[in-house]
């Protein structure tokens, strides 16, 4: 016996009497024809043994496999909790975000890191050696190991990245562990040769680079330390590396550049024609941590940002280019973010471990170090026991956000942090459908 999933949402109807149905728990999106709807609408009274046609059996199987219907006894909330706990505490996946330096060749006014970092900026030999030992100890039980190079600007320390990557690649090959890496970089030092080296020797396959607007706007916000323009250097580098690495452009948005995002998107898609290997997404500048002190007057209103994202997505979709948007694929997540996962750490240049990237350099937030391993100190326990807020239990969007940003929830007594982007998710799914049938 079956019932409809609690997490089904009708996105739209079309002229053929079909419904476009999304399941937020599984991420499945379907066009359900009238015949399938008949089964779906009567699912609690259906006796499948009476099905005479193979088509009916096929519909039922598809609905079940994609989560649109579930066994009548299934408690989907409990099921998600179980999946979340398995994801949180298993040791099959080890993820390390490694900041080989907290130094940077840029001085962006909204960056929190300059306020956080009061310690030595780069890794010394002892830290590198201890990091390898820490990794070997942790990776023994894993099937996959993922590294994200972070900073500061990680490419100021290419040698460290090369040395550590070489060990990671070697040990993972010996143990049969799948290794992959990505990088968050400002892109200034990411020329063709560097990209090729990262790809071939360090197994980096994806990078995130920030652009904050068309040239004149970007260069007011993304400042090189020597005062020079960053836009031309970064866009030239993207030209040169786009066939080597997958590139995601992050657009940090506040009130001072919100009105210029459309112009930048137009530049990316229509002027540069970088193609589908270069995607982009928008992200608001927010004051998440104590060290974040961006001018409150510049922070975007959630509704304004959602409106802008919706407009841009509509425009991009009309051009047949929705795949250029990195966030056009709406999918569920096991955890609100992996900072709530046990085997997931950020490593700073001194070898201290943290859970969230916004905490780097804030020694009060340390959850261990690479010499002695992680500690179950109060800070660590806060993260790995951060459960879903009670208020979220009846929300149909719960599988998409899992309560929202962990750091904000830890600081607000675990009240839900409803992602502003979820305001638009039905619209985005409708655009996906339109592109599919086009």
């Amino acid at each position: 016996m079956f019932k409809k999933s609690y997490y089904n949402e009708i996105i739209t109807h079309n002229n053929n009497g079909e419904i476009i149905l999304f399941n937020s728990r599984t991420g499945a999106l379907t066009i359900m024809n009238k015949e399938a709807q008949e089964i779906y609408n009567n699912i609690e009274n259906i006796d499948e043994s009476l099905f005479k046609e193979d088509k009916q059996k096929e519909y039922l199987t598809k609905m079940q496999e994609n989560g649109f219907i579930v066994n009548i006894n299934t408690d989907e909330l409990k099921l998600m909790e179980a999946v979340e706990n398995i994801a949180r505490y298993n040791d099959k996946l080890l993820t390390l975000t490694i900041a080989p330096t907290t130094a940077c060749n840029m001085a962006c006014p909204y960056c929190y890191e300059g306020n956080n970092i009061k310690h030595k900026p780069s890794m010394d030999e002892e830290v590198k050696n201890n990091l390898i030992k820490f990794f070997i100890n942790k990776v023994k039980n894993a099937k996959a190991f993922k590294v994200c190079w972070y900073g500061g600007e990680p490419l100021l320390e290419k040698q460290t990245i090369a040395e550590l990557s070489s060990e990671f690649v070697k040990v993972c090959a010996q143990l049969g562990v799948h290794y992959s890496a990505s990088m968050v970089t400002n892109g200034v030092l990411l020329d063709y040769e560097t990209a090729r080296y990262l790809k071939e020797e360090c197994k980096v396959n994806s990078v995130q680079i920030t652009l904050d607007g068309p040239k004149e706007i970007n260069d007011q916000r993304r400042l090189l330390k020597n005062g020079g323009s960053s836009f031309d250097i970064i866009t030239k580098n993207i030209d040169d590396i786009k066939e080597i690495l997958n590139v995601t452009i992050r657009i940090n948005v506040d009130n001072s550049n919100l009105d210029y995002i459309g112009e930048l998107v137009d530049y990316i898609i229509n002027n540069k024609k970088w193609g589908r290997k270069v995607k982009f997404y928008m992200y608001p500048v927010v004051n998440k941590c104590n060290e974040c002190n961006h001018d409150d007057k510049l922070l975007c209103d959630d509704n304004e940002l959602s409106k802008t994202i919706k407009e841009i997505m509509g425009k991009v979709c009309n051009n047949g280019s929705i795949e250029f948007m990195a966030n056009s694929y709406i999918k569920p997540r096991n955890l609100s973010c992996s900072a709530t996962k046990y085997n997931n750490y950020l490593v700073d240049p001194e070898g201290d471990l943290y859970k969230c990237w916004s905490q780097i350099g804030n020694k009060d937030m340390v959850v261990g170090n690479i010499r002695e391993g992680e500690k179950l100190n109060p800070e660590h326990v806060k993260w790995i026991t951060l459960n879903l807020p009670k208020e979220c239990e009846e929300c149909k969007k719960l599988p998409l956000c899992k309560g929202g940003c962990g750091l904000l929830r830890i600081n607000n007594g675990n009240k839900p942090v409803c992602d502003v982007g979820l305001v638009n998710y039905k619209n985005t799914l409708e655009l996906k459908y339109k592109e599919y049938v086009r």
Binding site: Y281, I309, S338, T428
Partner: protein
């Protein structure tokens, strides 16, 4: 009944990192703005 996007298997969701990353989507923010 036609699937536009198939259900994601649970083990594939484990690829999440703080910046969500997967092979098809690249890197996106830890909070998603759709």
């Amino acid at each position: 009944m036609e699937l536009i996007i198939e259900a994601i298997e649970n083990d594939k969701l484990e690829a999440e990192t703080c910046i969500l990353y997967d092979e098809s989507e690249g890197i996106i923010g830890c909070t998603i703005y759709w």
